[in-house]
């Protein structure tokens, strides 16, 4: 009886914790807060798609309650060595949510014996295509660094897409690595799957695995054709970490036959994400330019505007 009360308390506490979050989904596995579970592999020749093997999964007791995850019930999956690097547990949602051009965030807890990357795949369909399968893969969100194994880890991943797409299922890939050297399977656990408009997971104070801390640093990258934006010494801006709120000096480098019209700076998080045009006159003759401190927060993307020389 005591255990039952404690379990109810935990559920209530969890609900209260998420009360401030505009949450589209909140799956805790304490009750029946999902439509169904199964396995999924993006590899089309997977034995789990051809019917040669069946997945092994269930909602079970939390194998190790700790400060990160003290819930009682979690989702367990047998990570098969015959699945691919994108084999995972599929959670069919009771209500689909919309994938939007504005970022949403998936927060979840994962515990598995491996260290490595974690991915969440979204399955869904366009609402204006009646005949389309709701199993169409719509996004693949992966941690950018290895997540330690053997302990509960909190993971947050940003997702977005064109509007008009409903996500019906989430596939949590607890081990996004090739299993070719595995000699046996292992059990992995998933819990606390929350889809939110906020990058901050208010359910836990533990660190976010794939997003930079909001107050300390930002991630800078650039993706362009016909030129590039680099650091002044030519170093690539590829997931470059830079202190938030500090100006960044960059160099705009058009390819031969192209010039530039400044750049677009995309910055911030989620609904707060904005963009600003840095005009060409702010770039000196050597191609150097300073991105003002006020734009240096969140995920910063520098999009050089390279145009053909007329």
């Amino acid at each position: 009886m005591k255990m039952k009360r404690q379990r109810i308390y935990t559920v209530l506490l969890t609900l209260i914790s998420f009360a401030g979050v505009a949450s589209a989904q909140n799956i805790q596995f304490e009750g029946k807060d999902f439509q169904g579970i199964g396995v999924y592999d993006t590899w089309e020749e997977s034995p789990f798609r051809t019917g040669k093997l069946k997945g092994n999964y269930a909602v079970v007791d939390n194998p190790e309650r700790d400060s990160v995850n003290n819930s009682y019930r979690v989702l367990a999956i047998q990570r098969s060595r015959y699945g691919s690097n994108t084999f995972g547990v599929r959670i069919d949602l009771r209500e689909p949510f919309e994938l939007t051009p504005t970022e949403k965030y998936i927060h979840l807890l994962v515990r598995r014996p491996y260290s490595g990357r974690i991915m969440v795949v979204g399955l869904g369909k366009r609402t204006d295509r009646n005949a389309q399968s709701a199993d169409t893969e719509q996004f693949w969100a992966m941690t950018t660094e290895n997540v330690p194994g053997d302990v509960w880890q909190r993971v947050s991943l940003a997702i977005k897409g064109a509007g008009g797409i409903e996500i019906h299922s989430l596939v949590v890939v607890p081990d996004c690595e090739s299993p070719h050297h595995y000699t046996e399977d292992a059990i992995c656990y998933v819990d606390g799957v929350v889809v939110s408009d906020s990058p901050l997971n208010t359910a836990s104070a533990s660190s976010v695995a794939s997003l930079p801390a909001l107050s300390s640093e930002c991630l800078v990258s650039n993706t362009n054709r016909n030129g590039e934006v680099t650091l002044p010494d030519g170093s690539q801006l590829m997931s470059y970490e830079h202190p938030a709120g500090k100006p960044l000096r960059v160099k705009v480098r058009p390819e031969v036959g192209f010039t530039h019209d400044g750049m677009i700076v995309h910055y911030g998080y989620g609904e707060e994400r904005k963009q600003v045009h840095i005009p060409a006159r702010k770039v000196n003759r050597k191609g150097l330019c300073i991105i003002p401190a006020r734009y240096m927060n969140g995920v910063v993307e520098l999009e050089g505007l390279f145009v053909e020389v007329r």
């Binding site: 999956i77 051009p101 990357r117 366009r126």
Partner: protein, 513 residues
């Protein structure tokens, strides 16, 4: 049959259905999840895949290896590379009927296996009669223009010539008033893709340029329009739509099934993985790929065979056949495909100078890379995988000409030596290696050695990074791609030493030229 039995049958049927889908509608909580012992029978002792592995359509695409790019359109008549979108439709006025058959005949003579024709560039002018815009050939400046239908004629010619074909449709449309709005993707871009698919469902590639947004005519409003490249074209559903109609069509670039090699100069990295972290890396990493990338995203090198732009310009001339052969070695010979651009002129044909250069380039490929000395060599290996019931992994699999057989070592053996020996000394200049990539790219490092007449093993191509192999690697033994065809080496035997591999190496072909 009583009701109870009927209900039981219905229940079993429903349970079976859900079981096949891998979904259970109700989950009964239990305390622990016991491991279930699962095995797959493997009577042929086949190696397990190293993930990620290519999709079957990507494999077919990779086997195309070498194909042509034909930039033809409004820019051909305006001396531009990126039309603004405000061009007078009458400007498109071919001086003769455009002849895609001639384009592909030249490509075939160069040793290419297919081609991709631009049917809409950023200026938005469509080279087929389309219902999506008035900015198309039906409103062009003369009868040759009005009768032009490039996708129709290009597809027909390709089928006649036994070549693969595909199309370039620019996502960015500087003519469309709708560009930048949600309506553009649904009402213009996707419909244009669907129209093009009607000219053939056996297309091997659609080329979606990464150039997106910026200034343009935009139906007369002009100005700058920016879009979110990550979401605007709704790529997951674009892919789904195209694959339903064209199941073997790889979507390049924006489409996310083959990657830009990161430069337009005709070279790939010597270390070049076909694996990549799709959506997580800048295009500038395209030359090299990422060893632990989560997705199979092979590289395609787009390069110009002429000295001016992608479109034809007065006074242009082709690169030398030797320079084009160098590109061949530095792209196809480095685990990339090569799409080589040959621009048709204002008469809608390839200029004579281009025809001559490409034909000579094809002759160089034929002369230098077709007489395989490995076919008459004794081929051995110091490790050979244990044979299965109906399959063996002997070294002869590397020289049997069958792309579906391969030599392999046992699991856990990631180093090995392959030796080729001849009865008499041979003159050799190139070594070609191919991995059996259907089970993933594996080799991280190898070296090549030649046995001299005084019976010492001499390292070859020491200045070459002999790291990855992938689908195909061609190593010039003198180490130079620019001047690879010299007097050659006199050898009695050669050996390829695999020094490191992610898992047991699987080599489907070794050739020596």
């Amino acid at each position: 049959m009583n009701i109870s039995n009927i209900m039981k049958r219905r229940f079993l049927r429903a349970a079976l259905c859900f079981g096949l889908l891998g979904i259970v509608p109700v989950v009964y909580a239990q305390s622990v999840l016991p491991l279930v012992e699962q095995t797959l029978s493997n009577p042929d002792n086949e190696p397990v895949p190293v993930h990620p592995v290519p999709h079957s359509r990507q494999l077919k695409w990779q086997e195309t290896e070498f194909y042509a790019f034909f930039h033809y359109g409004m820019n051909t008549y305006t001396n531009r590379e990126w039309g603004y979108g405000n061009e007078d439709r009458a400007t498109f006025a071919p001086t003769a009927a455009p002849n895609p058959r001639q384009w592909l005949e030249v490509a075939k003579a160069a040793g290419m296996r297919g081609g991709i024709a631009v049917v809409k560039h950023h200026d938005g002018f469509c080279l087929w009669p389309t219902a999506t815009t008035e900015h198309n050939v039906t409103n062009s400046g003369n009868d040759y223009g009005r009768q032009t239908n490039i996708p129709r004629d290009f597809a027909e010619a390709a089928r006649d010539l036994g070549m693969k074909y595909g199309f370039y449709i620019s996502p960015w449309d500087r003519n469309s008033a709708l560009y930048g709005t949600e309506r553009y993707v649904k009402e213009v871009f996707l419909r244009q893709c669907a129209e093009i698919a009607q000219y053939g469902t056996d297309q091997f590639e659609m080329w979606f340029d990464g150039a997106n947004g910026g200034d343009g005519y935009y139906g007369g409003e002009e100005g700058r329009r920016s879009i979110d490249r990550a979401t605007y074209y709704d790529v997951p559903n674009l892919r789904d739509t195209v694959h339903r109609v064209c199941p073997d069509c790889v979507l390049w670039g924006v489409g996310g099934e083959a990657r830009w090699i990161g430069n337009e100069a005709g070279w790939a990295g010597q270390t070049n993985w076909s694996t990549e972290n799709r959506d997580y890396v800048p295009e500038k990493n395209g030359m090299y790929g990422t060893e632990d990338g989560w997705f199979w995203l092979p590289g395609e090198s787009d390069a110009k065979a002429t000295n001016r732009g992608w479109f034809w310009h007065e006074g242009e001339s082709p690169l030398s056949p030797e320079r084009l052969f160098q590109m061949y070695l530095e792209t196809i010979g480095r685990n990339s495909t090569l799409i080589l651009n040959i621009p048709p002129n204002q008469a809608g044909v390839l200029p004579d100078a281009s025809v001559e250069a490409l034909t000579k380039m094809g002759e160089l490929v034929q002369q230098r890379l077709s007489t395989d000395l490995a076919a008459k060599a004794a081929v051995t290996a110091d490790h050979v995988r244990t044979r299965g019931a109906a399959r063996h992994y002997e070294p002869i699999n590397m020289t049997d000409g069958d792309k579906d057989t391969y030599w392999a070592t046992n699991d856990g053996e990631t180093t090995a030596t392959i030796t080729l020996s001849w009865d008499s000394p041979q003159t050799v200049r190139y070594v070609e290696l191919m991995e059996y990539i259907a089970k993933g790219q594996r080799v991280r490092k190898f070296r090549i050695e030649a046995l001299s007449e005084n019976d010492t093993w001499i390292p070859c191509a020491t200045q070459v990074e002999t790291t990855t192999i992938g689908y195909k690697r061609i190593v010039p033994l003198n180490g130079s791609t620019a001047a690879s065809y010299d007097e050659g080496l006199q050898v009695k035997a050669m050996r390829i030493v695999i020094e490191d591999s992610k898992a047991c190496p699987l080599i489907s072909r070794v050739a020596v030229y």
